[in-house]
C-alpha cells in the first residue's frame, strides 16, 4: 500500500470506527472490506484502535456515578417499603412520631431521599459501660456476666433481664443501724439505661448519664438513696419513709411511683408524680404534689412551680421510649445525645423559639434524625463519628 493510499484508508477506517463516516464513506468502506486482505487489515486496525485509546474516567465522575447508584438503591428500597413504614409509624408505640404544626409527610417525601446517603455506620457511639461499685470498692460491669460475678454476695446478678440487678434476696438478718450500712453505687453512661431492685423490693429505673448510691440493705429508720441524673422510682409500700436526695432537694414518700430529674448542669430539676403522693423539700420550703403534677425547681431563683402533665407519657423513657415535649432544638439534640450515646453538633440557625415534640425509640437514631431533619428543615452529615446538623442551603 502506498503511503498516500494508506493515509486515506486509515482516515476512512478510523472515521468508520468513530461513527463519523458519511454515507459515501460507508459505501466506499463496504466495497473496500470485501477484499480478504483488506478485511484482515481492518481487523488488526480495529484491535489497535480499541487498544490504544486510553479512555480515562476521572475519579470525581466515577465517584459521582457510584453515589448515584447508591442513591438509586436506597431510594428504591425506601419506596418499596414506604407503605409498610408509614403504617408502622402510626401503629407502633415504639416508633417515631413527630408532629409539628401543619407538617405533611408526603409533601416532604423527597427530602427523605436527600438524607439517605448519610452512613450511620460511621457514627461513633459512647463506649463507656455501666459500672456497679461494691461496698469494698471493687467495680463490676453487670452487663458482662461471668461465673465470678454470679457469686457476688452483695447483689444478685442473675436476673432474667440483663439490664437489671437485684438486692431482694440478699437477706442480712435484721435491719441494721444506719451507721453500719454498706453502700453500693451504679453509674449509667450516655446511651445506656438500667434498672435496680433494691432490698425492699423498690424498683429504680435509671436513665442515661445518671448515678445512684444506695445501701445494700436498708436501715430501719429510713430508706435513703442519693441520685444525680434521672430515675423513675416504683417504691414498695412501707411505714419506713423512702427518701431520694439530690443536690438541690429531698423527695420523701411512703409508697408510690414518681420520676426525679436532677442533672448536674441543668438550669432546673423536677419531680413528676404518677400515683400516690410525694413531699418535696428544697431550700427550706416543702410542697406536696398530686398525680399528674410536675414540680420544677429553678436553680437560679430557687423558685418552685407546679404544673399539670401527662405523667404516663413523660415517664415512658423507662420503657425505652424517649418523649420530648415543647423542647427547643438544642435541648432536643442534647436529649438525643444522652439517649443514644452519640455526639451531635448543631450548626443550624433554627430559632430557639421553635418547639419540638416527639417520641423516639432507643434503637434507631437514623430514623430519629430523618424525622428531625424533616421537621426542623435542616440536614445532617457525619464527620469523624460526630453528627453535624446544619441549614439545608449552607
Amino acid at each position: 500500500m502506498q503511503l498516500k493510499g494508506e493515509e486515506a484508508t486509515d482516515i476512512l477506517i478510523s472515521r468508520i470506527l468513530k461513527g463519523t463516516a458519511d454515507t459515501d464513506e460507508i459505501e466506499e468502506f463496504a466495497e473496500w472490506i470485501k477484499d480478504i486482505d483488506n478485511e484482515r487489515y481492518f481487523e488488526q486496525y480495529k484491535e489497535v484502535w480499541h487498544s490504544a485509546q486510553e479512555v480515562h474516567v476521572s475519579e470525581g465522575k466515577k465517584d459521582q456515578s457510584l453515589q448515584s447508584l447508591i442513591h438509586y438503591i436506597r431510594y428504591n428500597k425506601k419506596r418499596q417499603s414506604n407503605r409498610r413504614r408509614f403504617i408502622f409509624v402510626i401503629s407502633s408505640a415504639a416508633a417515631i412520631l413527630l408532629i409539628l404544626g401543619l407538617f405533611s409527610l408526603y409533601d416532604n417525601y423527597n427530602m427523605w431521599y436527600n438524607y439517605s446517603h448519610v452512613s450511620f455506620s460511621e457514627l461513633k457511639y459512647n463506649t463507656d459501660s455501666i459500672k456497679v461499685v461494691l461496698s469494698d470498692g471493687r467495680v463490676i460491669n453487670p452487663m458482662r456476666k461471668s461465673p465470678y460475678y454470679a457469686k457476688e454476695k452483695e447483689l444478685n446478678l442473675n436476673s432474667a433481664d440483663q439490664r437489671e440487678i437485684s438486692y431482694v434476696a440478699q437477706k442480712t438478718g435484721r435491719p441494721q443501724k444506719s451507721e453500719s450500712l454498706k453502700y453500693n453505687s451504679v453509674s449509667i453512661p450516655s446511651g445506656e439505661r438500667f434498672a435496680i431492685v433494691l432490698s425492699d423490693g423498690t424498683k429504680v429505673y435509671l436513665n442515661s448519664n445518671s448515678y445512684i448510691r444506695y445501701p445494700v440493705s436498708f436501715g430501719k429508720e429510713s430508706r435513703d438513696v442519693t441520685l444525680v441524673g434521672r430515675a423513675y422510682f416504683d417504691v414498695q409500700k412501707s411505714d419506713v419513709p423512702f427518701i431520694v436526695t439530690t443536690s438541690d432537694m429531698k423527695v420523701e414518700v411512703l409508697g408510690t411511683s414518681f420520676d426525679v430529674e436532677s442533672k448536674k448542669d441543668a438550669t432546673s430539676s423536677s419531680v413528676i408524680l404518677v400515683e400516690g403522693s410525694v413531699k418535696v423539700l428544697a431550700d427550706g420550703q416543702s410542697k406536696i404534689i398530686s398525680p399528674n403534677e410536675m414540680l420544677s425547681i429553678n436553680r437560679l431563683h430557687k423558685k418552685m412551680s407546679v404544673k399539670n402533665v401527662d405523667s404516663k407519657t413523660m415517664t415512658l423513657w423507662k420503657d425505652g421510649i424517649l418523649v420530648l415535649k415543647e423542647q427547643s432544638i438544642d435541648s432536643m439534640l442534647e436529649s438525643l445525645c444522652s439517649w443514644y450515646g452519640v455526639e451531635i453538633v448543631n450548626n443550624s440557625t433554627v430559632s430557639r423559639r421553635e418547639k419540638f415534640n416527639g417520641k423516639f425509640d432507643r434503637e434507631n437514631i437514623e430514623a430519629a434524625m430523618k424525622t428531625i431533619a424533616l421537621c426542623a428543615k435542616v440536614r445532617y452529615r457525619i464527620e469523624n463519628g460526630i453528627l453535624i446538623i446544619e441549614d439545608i442551603n449552607e
Binding site: L3, K18, T20, T23, W49, A52, Q53, K62, L69, K77
Partner: protein, 188 residues
C-alpha cells in the same frame, strides 16, 4: 467497602440487593465498562448514562439475576445492549440503513462484548498500549490523531502548527518503531 472474594457470596449479596455488593462490582468494573461504552458511542455523557443504566437495571432485576458464566460478562453484554439502545434512540445508524449496510455495522464494525472481553486482558492490548505509550510525545500525538481520531496529515499539521512533511516523517518513525516491536502485525 465489602470485599467479596467468593463469587457465590457476591452473587447472593447482589441478589439480596446489598449496597456493598453493588458498590464492590461498580468500583471493580466501572472504568473498563465506561471505556468500552465510550468507544462504541464516542460520546462522554452517553457512555456515562449507558453504564449507569446498566447498574440500575442490574439492581432492578436483582431477584432474577441469572449469571450464566460470570458477573463480568453479564456486565459487558448489558453495556453492549444499552449502547445499541442508545444508538437506536439517537438514530445514529440512519446512514447505514440508507445504504443497506446495517448488517455490516453489527457484524464487522461494532466491538462485540466477547471481543472486548478477550482484548481487555490480552497480551496484545498490553503490548500495543506499552509500545504506543513509549513513543516520543510528539510522535505519539501524531500517531493517535491520524490512526485513532481519523485526522488527515494536513489537518494534523494545521492543528499542531507543523509542516505536512513533518507529520509524514513522524508517522514513518512511529510505524517503523512499532513494526520492530509488534512483528506479527501487518498493519505497520
Amino acid at each position: 467497602m465489602g470485599n467479596f472474594t467468593n463469587n457465590e457470596d457476591l452473587l447472593n449479596a447482589l441478589k439480596a440487593g446489598g449496597e456493598e455488593a453493588f458498590s464492590f462490582i461498580f468500583v471493580k468494573h466501572y472504568g473498563n465498562l465506561f471505556s468500552y461504552a465510550y468507544r462504541i458511542l464516542n460520546d462522554n455523557s452517553d457512555a456515562q448514562e449507558c453504564v449507569q443504566k446498566t447498574f440500575y437495571h442490574m439492581w432492578d432485576i436483582r431477584h432474577k439475576l441469572e449469571i450464566r458464566d460470570s458477573i463480568k460478562s453479564y456486565l459487558y453484554r448489558s453495556v453492549y445492549n444499552n449502547c445499541i439502545n442508545i444508538i437506536r434512540q439517537k438514530k445514529l445508524l440512519l446512514k447505514y440503513e440508507e445504504k443497506g449496510q446495517i448488517d455490516l455495522y453489527f457484524s464487522r464494525i461494532i466491538q462485540s462484548p466477547q471481543t472486548e472481553m478477550r482484548l481487555i486482558d490480552s497480551e496484545t492490548r498490553r503490548a500495543i498500549l506499552q509500545n504506543v505509550g513509549s513513543l516520543p510525545e510528539k510522535c505519539k500525538e501524531i500517531f493517535i490523531r491520524c490512526k485513532i481520531n481519523g485526522q488527515s496529515y494536513a489537518e494534523v499539521a494545521g492543528i499542531m502548527d507543523i509542516s505536512i512533511k513533518t507529520v509524514e516523517n513522524q508517522m514513518t518513525i512511529a510505524l517503523k518503531r512499532l513494526k520492530e516491536k509488534l512483528k506479527y502485525f501487518i498493519l505497520f
